[in-house]
Structures are given as structure tokens and as C-alpha cells.
Amino acid sequence: MQPEVEIRFTLNGRPVRTHVPPTMAVLEMVRERFALTGSKLACGEGECGACAVLLDGEPVLGCLTPAVDVDGRVLVTVEGLRHKADLAPLQKAFLMEGAVQCGFCTPGMLVAATALLAEHPHPSREQVRRGLEGNLCRCTGYVAIVEAVEDAGKR
């Protein structure tokens, strides 16, 4: 067995600590250690974006980021995007624009879009499209998702 490494970090606003094997990815850590199953394993190769999480505000792939690298940092998963009891404006925009169908890509889309909006609060359509280029969706054809992010940027 691999020796586990102790890490402490902020997870969705709360200080936490856990022990992880050094080869464990953030995705398995949040799903198995913290029961946060919103982040999805859909390819495990960094090609689909369904596992995206925010690390110090930057969007990263949960499946390819070593869990040990979050030590001392701030991690936000899709479960941490809501504003207290209420949904975040972006989440509301996803619902109001029909950006959710099967929903499997939605967590990663929301995370990537949250990062995009943090960097460009009022993004152009092209910026939104490029900002989501690492997230695959099979249901929506991306149209409603792009509109939702644009909408959230107009608020």
C-alpha cells in the first residue's frame, strides 16, 4: 500500500483535512473522502471536462490533478457553487436557458463557466465558446449552455 499523505485545505468554504495516497486524483478524493459526487468521471483522460473543479479559482481537471496538490489551497467543487441556500446566478441561468438535459456534463460546465466569468465578467460569445472548449456535451449541442453563460455575464 502507498503511504498516505496528510493534506489540509479549504473545501467549498470549510477547512478540512484528510489523508490521501500520493497518486490519488482530486476527483476520487472529493467523491470518496467527502461524498461529493457532483464531479463526474466520464473519461479519466482530461478530454471531457466533467470532473472540473476550481483550485484557487482556476478551473482544473479533477481526474488529472493529484490530490496532494490541493494541500494548503482552496478547492471548490460544483457543490460549492451555490450562494448559501440559493442557486448562483449562473446555475439559475442554466435552468432558465435549458442548458441542462441529462445533466452529466453540467457540473463541469458550471465550473468552467464560473472560472470564465471570474476572469471575464461580461464575456463575448466567442470567449464563452472558447472558455467551454474543454467540456464535452452530447445532449444540448452547447447552444443553450453558451446562452446561459452569456446571460449570467449580463447580470
Partner: protein, 759 residues
Amino acid sequence: MTLIGARIPKLDGPGKATGETRYLSDLEVPGMLHGVIRRSDRVHARIVSVDVSKALEVSGVHAVLTARDIVNVPFGHGKDNTPLKGDRVRCIRDEIAAVAAETESAAAEACRAIRVEYEDLPPVFTVEDALKPGAPEIHAGRAGNLPFTYDYAHGDVAQGEADSAHVVEGEFVLQFMTHCCMGTSAILAAFDSEGRLTLTSLTQVPFLYRRDMAAIVGMSPEDIRVIQPPIGGAFGSKLDIYPFEPIAVHLARATRRPVRIVFSRHEEFVSSPTRQPMRVRLRSGCDGKGRLTFRDAQLWLDNGGYTSWGATTPFVMMQTFSSLYRVPHARFHTKVAYTNNPYSGSFRGYGNLQATFAVESQLDLLAEKVGVDPLELRLMNSQETGEKTGQGLEFVSCGLRDCLESAAEMSGWRAKRASPALKGNVRRGVGMASMLHVGGGAKIYRSDGCGSVVSIDDFGKVTLVTGSTDIGQGSETVLAQMVAEVLGVAMDRVKVINSDTDVKPWDVGVHASRTSYVAGNSALLAANEAKAKLLTAAADLYELPKGELSLSGGFIMRGAEKVDALDKLVRTLHFTGKGELLVTHSYFEPASVKQDAGFFGNVSPTYAFGTHAVEVEVELDTGQVRVLAVSAAHDVGKVLNAMSLEGQIEGGVVMGLGYSLTEELKIREGKVLNPSFRDYHLLTAPEVPPIHFKAIETEDPSGPFGAKGVGEAPAICVAAAVANAVHHATGVRFTELPLTPERVLNGLIAAGVVRDPLA
């Protein structure tokens, strides 16, 4: 009407937008083991021996099963597949052994430790080779590797030929495409203390699934409960039972523990069904003015090593050959042959993308021969409401002409068609294509019906229990809308239960674009009966004329005056007087017929039509095709939920664009060369063009509020429209998909449109 046609957000949206929705891969139950399957390393071989001793030594392993350990019941449409393969493997997917272990990694390690000895058999990789005399027989006793043929005809093709001024002929080659559901295939099998089996399954057809599964695992169907959790996409991929599902049951039985199997992405690419690949040879004719005279189609389908629904796609395809536009004479002949390739299942459109690609490509060729605009030729041959086609399809509503004109108008057709634009290194063009598909299910079983139960509790909350299945497309929301509309309550007063065969009434399943129509009509029947019951009760109670009462805003109304609150009335019914419950039920059977042996008959109660006009840009130095805009007009009968309709259209169009431009599961000698998103290219957000959509409302007389099904329609005619646009731009006709840059550049060079940059 207040809710019908509105933009209503999905009921299951909030849980999905917060990450709280639990999919099957997020679900763990106490004591659950992980199942992993050991698959074949060969495409065609005799299994000499399977040694599992090393696998059993892996820590955490509870069971290792091979064909010898189970009763291996043949199943599937051709009864040629089994859960585990004992003596022979016929394709790269073949399941040789399965392991249940405490962790997925232990199960995977054990699988790798299984030693399989093979003796290779001569393989067959093409339909042509499979059908040659003396070809290796892939299934013993299925002589000639020819499990299925389909023959259909109406009119007299010879007469059609004689009536033709122009005839075009050609061959079209269609590729393997795979569903790429973002959630991979999965199942959880668990027996309870009484020996009943609960399958938490992604199936699209829970009742047929229960029946078929019972036969495979040797149980009585009533002892199987199917729970349908939220699902990460389906698109037809879960219309059949695949070996991993009974394998999970056998593992659960062997270990007396719940067993879950979740495919890795690699496994999903290699081992889940595909869109049926095929070769289509088509002749089409028209008279001197452009009126169609005949179609004569011959198809060859690669069945792969086993039979799933892909082999039955001719059933749908022949409708397009016989009935898309007016065709007085049509003939259709198909051979389906076993090979050692992976096998195909059903996939949104069910063969119709392939058929439409051929038919609509040749319409442009005919237009060119006649010298008329492709739009004019299509309008000239368009059908109208009230027509019955040569195959017996009855168009009780038909908006094809409107679709053609609307798509043309949205795309700026006439101006753009006049001259293909040339700008430096790129050429632009526009093309169009239309589609015909069943719009209210297809009667392939004796019943194509759906049951519903509507109940109103003593707090006025309405529950719809529907037999139908939601696969992410939003049927739950649309059905709730219909019920809310009838009962005059807000959307949040309706709950839909649709995921448990122990609770819900029978339904055929989600396929053939049938849910809005069939389950919608069914829900409407039950809701209308509930409404009648409420109004009768209110009329009796308040001694008012029933005919003057209505339901609105949660109240029984008489004109603008509130008579009683809905919840209060229900409580009165429950707790006083006769003690009546407000529960109604219905069964809706569409007015379609099962076709005869010659495939004649009105298989669906209504049909969906649509036209896409596509504008493309072709880079002459790289062969890259960029789609600049898609203008899509669809006869949807009636818009029920504008937002979910647009979602279906946009998603379908983009899936069709993927089929046209980038998507191909590359199979060489039976093996999958690109089993990852890295090399199997789905379109990404920056590649998606603007999609202009117009809903044509023909108000189908039999549809719920006039609606017809649209789930598959938007994917169907994209590829033909793209190919027609590329032809308009470059003058080169492509008959093989996808239109990858390399294929296009080769075509441009071969046609002399561009000079070989290396020459």
C-alpha cells in the same frame, strides 16, 4: 392554454445544476461489490482454455465467473448472443469472464490475471467477404452468414424507369458512429432476502427488459424490479440488453452481494453498441420536369459478431426510401451479414440518417440533371396533409412544404444558391435536405401503448405515475405540463413518478420518438378523467351546473368566480360523504398498425417532417469544412415546451453535424482504433454554428394538444444537407461520411478543383 408552448425549465434541473443528483455511478449500497469484465483479445478464435486461478488469488475478489459457471442462455433479436462466451469469440467485445471484488481496481487486476488460450479462426471483416461462398461461418448453423434480409416494394420499378427522363445511380458508405453518452454504461444488481432481484438499470425499455432479462437469468419476470436512476444520456443505446447486464446478475447471485458494473470510457468506446454502418446502392429517377418516378435501393449491413437492433434498422429506412416525397414506384432490398466486427444497436434516427443521406443526395443530383433549383424539385414532390404513401403511411398532418419554404427563407437560400461564394482560400455554399420519421411511436410489438395514473392528494398535490421513461430529454417535464394544464394547477403542484416497474404501469419504452405523443396522450386521458371527476364532485357539492365549471389556478372556477380550492374539494371528497379517492388511470394505444409481412401499413399514428438548410465554408488548401449556419424547420405538430423543444433540436442538429464531419469509430480488422475522446471527435462548443429554428405547427388531430414526436428528427437530415452544401460550394459530390478534411481534400484534388499542393 397557459402552459402549453411556454418555456418551462426542467423539473429535474435544480438537482443537476447543484451536483446533487445521484447517477448510477454515484450510487453505492451497503456490501456492494464491483464487477469487471474480461473481454476477448481476439476477434475470431476458439477458446482453448481459461485459467482463473491467479484471479482468485487477488485480494478482495469474491467471485470469478466463466461460461462454465453459469447457465448461458442465448438472447437478443437473433438469439445469437450469450452473457459469457465459452467456446468461441466472434468479436473484440466478447465477454470471457467476470470478476466481482471489493474494489474496482482489485476486480480489474483479477481480470488481467485471467489466462486465456486461443486458437485463431479465419476472420471476416466485410459484408462482401462474409457473403462469398465458402466464407468462414461465424455462427454454426447460420449458413452463408446471412441472418436477415428485408424486401419491400410498391408500384413497379420497371415502369418507373420507363417513365424517367433522368436516372441517377450511386453508392453511399456510412460509418460506425458511437453514442458517447457522457455517463457510461452501468448496472447495479441486488437480490433481496426473498430472492427478488432489483436492477438499477439505465434501460430505455424497462418492461421489455424485465421480461427478456428474466428469461436470460432464469427467473420469473414478476420477481424482477427495474429502478431507473437519472441517466447520463441514452440516444437509443439502451434499447437492448447487453451481456454486461445479465453478467451483473450472475455475479450478484454468485456472491450474494449487490454488484455494480460501470464501464470505463475505453470500454464504452469498444463495447457499447454503435450506429449501424452500411453500404447503400441507390437508383433514383424523375421525369423531365423533376417529378420523382422511382427509387430502387440495395443495402448491405454489417451485422458484426452478434445481432442487436442495428440489424433491424431497415424497418425504418425503407420508410424513407418509399415515402420521403412522392415516389410512385419503390423497391428496397437489404442483406444483413455476420462479420467479426463489433455489432450495432439503435441510435437516434434508427437507420434514417443513413437512408436520408442517400435519398437526399440523389435529389440534388436529379435537380441538377433537370436544371431546377433543389428547393423547387423538393417542393414539386412534397407531400400534403391527407396523403397515404405507397407503403401505407398516412399523413394526417404534414408540414413538409412549410418546412422546405421556412428553411429556405431562414437560410437566405435564393440569394446564396444563386452563386457559390469564392473568397480567397475558401468557398461557400448552401445545401438542403428533408426528413420523414415516425412521430408517435412505431407499432413493432402488438401494443405500442402506455399507461398512466393520476392522483390528487388531500393537499392538492397531483401525482402522475407514467409508464414512460425519461432519459434526460425532459419528458417528465412535458408530461407534468400537460397534466398541470388540464387540472389548472401550477407546475410545482405536479410530481411525476416514472422510474420503478413495481409502481408504474406498462409502457413499451422510450424510442421511436413516441414519449410526448403516446405517454402524453395517455397522461391527458387520465388527467381529463380526473378533471371530470373534480367538476362533477364540485357540481354536486355546490349544486352548480357542471358545464359552467372549470379548473384554474388551483381552484374550481365558475367564470371568474372561485367556487372552491382544489385541495379543499379533494379533502371533502376523501373525508366526508362517500369517501372517494381522486385517482384515475388510463391506457393509451395509438391508432397505428403492425405492418404486414410485406412491410405495408400505417406503423405510426403520425409522422414528423423537417428540412435543414446548411451553409458551409470549405478550405481549399486543407479540405476543412466549416458549417456556418444551420436553418432547421420541423413539423412538430404543436410546441409543448419551447425550451425543451429547442434543446432537442439543437442537440440533434449538432449530433448530426458530428456524424457529417468528424465522428467515426474506426474499426480495422475488427479492432477499435480510436477508443477515446482524444481520437473520436465530438464537436466542441467553439465548432457549433448558429442554429436557426422554426417550429411548424400543423396541430396533429391525434396528438396531445396537437403535438408529435421530435426526439430523433433533428439529427436525421443534417449529413445530406451538409454534403449538398459542400457540393454547391465545390462541385464535388461526397458519398462517404464523415467529411473529414483529408477525405474532402482528396476529393477536391481528384476532381481537379484544386491542384495537389505537393505537385
